[in-house]
Symmetry: C2
Subunit: 328 residues, 2 copies
């Protein structure tokens, strides 16, 4: 019997979940829920219905795990605790600073409902967090480095679009090669924000707009760009649509640590991702954790879990015997 | 209260465990057991005694977790099942093909004794296995690649030393750059043994030995070298001792996979290790899993476990709250 998955919210992430389910033979999509008019939402899977979000409890018996695809700013802080009372849920809450508070709210609900709720699933938080944990536990005498990119930052692209005279824009976060090389050398460098990442912007300016002024405004924008070396390219809308329509991302988690009686030996643990599609990869991580949530739920577990709490074997469709024989 | 660790077998790995314990504040070394004459074994930690292996049961109350540092060929198949009846144990059993059989034997003992036994801990099997599992669960439509090196292969070095006229030797396994590049491109290449790794040998020949013959014998040795491009350098014993006395190792686990409704997007997940000391890094992994074994034992768990079965949080000295606040 398949694990029946429901999707709440059908944007890039929801569509990614739908694609991931297609690749996992032990899962099936049974319902999509949306706050938009259901008839306006066209999904890829034949035979699956789209329902209004507020009718979700009518479909409780059709869904084993509900995947919450809303945003971390306003959707998930409300939705995850709400739905964790009724469903095993997985979300991708990614406001790092508010995770403890989100965890507490979701845990209370999931305990009450006797459900398993996995929060902050994806690659950062998610796979990057896991790699920080494993590497830090193995090499306690060491230092962590996280680099993001090369990839599109939606927040920074949006910030540029708010500059007067900008029609559209895409911003890439790029790790600085020299910084990566220094970290990989084991020298444990202290790196400033500027030394770690640079920001490359592709900007479509309105006709007659003052490009010098736009470039200056971008480069001096506090929080977003002022602390970085920023490169601004002005291109046409056609070029932007043709060359920059993807949502690639990725990055590196590196730990450099010492072992030996006097710390005489150096070790480098590096985990990296190179992703063509940020939302589809995030969705693929979530799908694996939906399997884990379902299995833990079947075993009677309840409450809020993160990637730190879940035994790796629960993510895989293979049995313990198969895993030991083929992957160990 | 510290986790009290016992070490069975004091070679490179045992010494690595001793160094790792020094770095973990919640652990202390309480006893070392050896099959050699205890007075001939000199350890680094002050105040800790070395006992004969056959007196180990007299020290049952001094050890929370016993770490088995013997070899996979003959020691561990006997020792791990034997000691898992009396102690929580961790071993680094690394004969991949015999893991299922080892698991069954150890599980029976650990169940009987009510103990937790973690087998096949280290980096491969171990961290590499974990990364194969995580990456495969996330990207089911994909392919795994494991590369080893650059590092010293003890088995291959030993094989060279058995060639007539060879005084001493060191063999490095080296991943082929072109193969790594092809894999990282996402093209899912089919790679032969020869295309993935090359073997570089530093050989000290006896005075008057026939070097051409030695080189030929090495390069054509079945199983060890015949299937690889092999480079042989003849050097002096002084050069070997000066430049090749370390035991570095490492490698890469890469998964290249597709997502999207029609598999239109490519993702590369890469995990790599660059290790100055193979045994010290293995020991560091084992120390973290000793913490997990102890905690699971405290919770009443029993039986044989592998890295696949253990929730990541159990490896870390940090609490769940700290982990969520700082690493997630």
């Amino acid at each position: 019997m398949s694990i029946r998955i429901g999707i709440m919210g059908y944007g890039n992430l929801g569509r990614g979940i739908e694609c991931a389910i297609k690749q996992n033979e032990d899962m099936e999509l049974t319902a999509v829920f949306t706050r938009r008019a259901p008839e306006s939402v066209s999904i890829l899977t034949e035979g699956v219905k789209v329902y209004p979000a507020d009718q979700i409890l009518d479909h409780k018996d059709e869904v084993d795990v509900l995947i919450l695809c809303g945003g971390s700013a306003t959707d998930l802080p409300v939705q995850t605790p709400e739905y964790a009372k009724h469903f095993h849920v997985v979300d991708s809450f990614d406001t790092h600073a508010k995770i403890p508070q989100h965890f507490a709210a979701v845990d209370a609900s999931a305990q009450e409902g006797g459900k398993v709720a996995v929060i902050s699933c994806g690659w950062d938080p998610g796979m990057f967090s896991l790699n920080r944990l494993y590497a830090g536990a193995i090499l306690p005498m060491g230092q962590d480095y996280t680099f993001w990119g090369k990839g599109v930052s939606q927040g920074h692209s949006d910030a540029i679009r708010r500059v007067e005279g900008v029609v559209d824009a895409k911003q890439y976060t790029i790790p600085v090669d020299e910084a990566l090389t220094a970290v990989r050398s084991g020298s444990n460098p202290a790196l400033t924000t500027r030394q770690k990442h640079l920001r490359e912007c592709f900007v479509v300016a309105a006709e007659g707009a003052d490009k010098t002024k736009i470039e200056h405004e971008i480069k001096t924008m506090p929080n977003y760009f002022a602390d970085y070396d920023t490169i601004v390219h002005f291109i046409s809308k056609e070029e932007l649509d043709r060359d920059h329509s993807g949502i690639p991302h990725g990055g590196f988690v590196i730990r450099s640590g010492k072992t030996g009686w006097e710390g005489e030996n150096t070790h480098i643990i590096e985990y990296s991702l190179k992703l063509d599609s940020n939302p589809e990869f995030t969705a693929s991580v979530i799908a694996a954790y939906a399997r884990a949530a379902y299995r833990m739920g079947q075993e009677g577990a309840k409450g809020c879990k993160t990637v730190f709490d879940i035994p790796p074997a629960y993510l895989s469709a293979m049995s313990g015997e198969e895993l030991r024989a083929h992957l160990l």
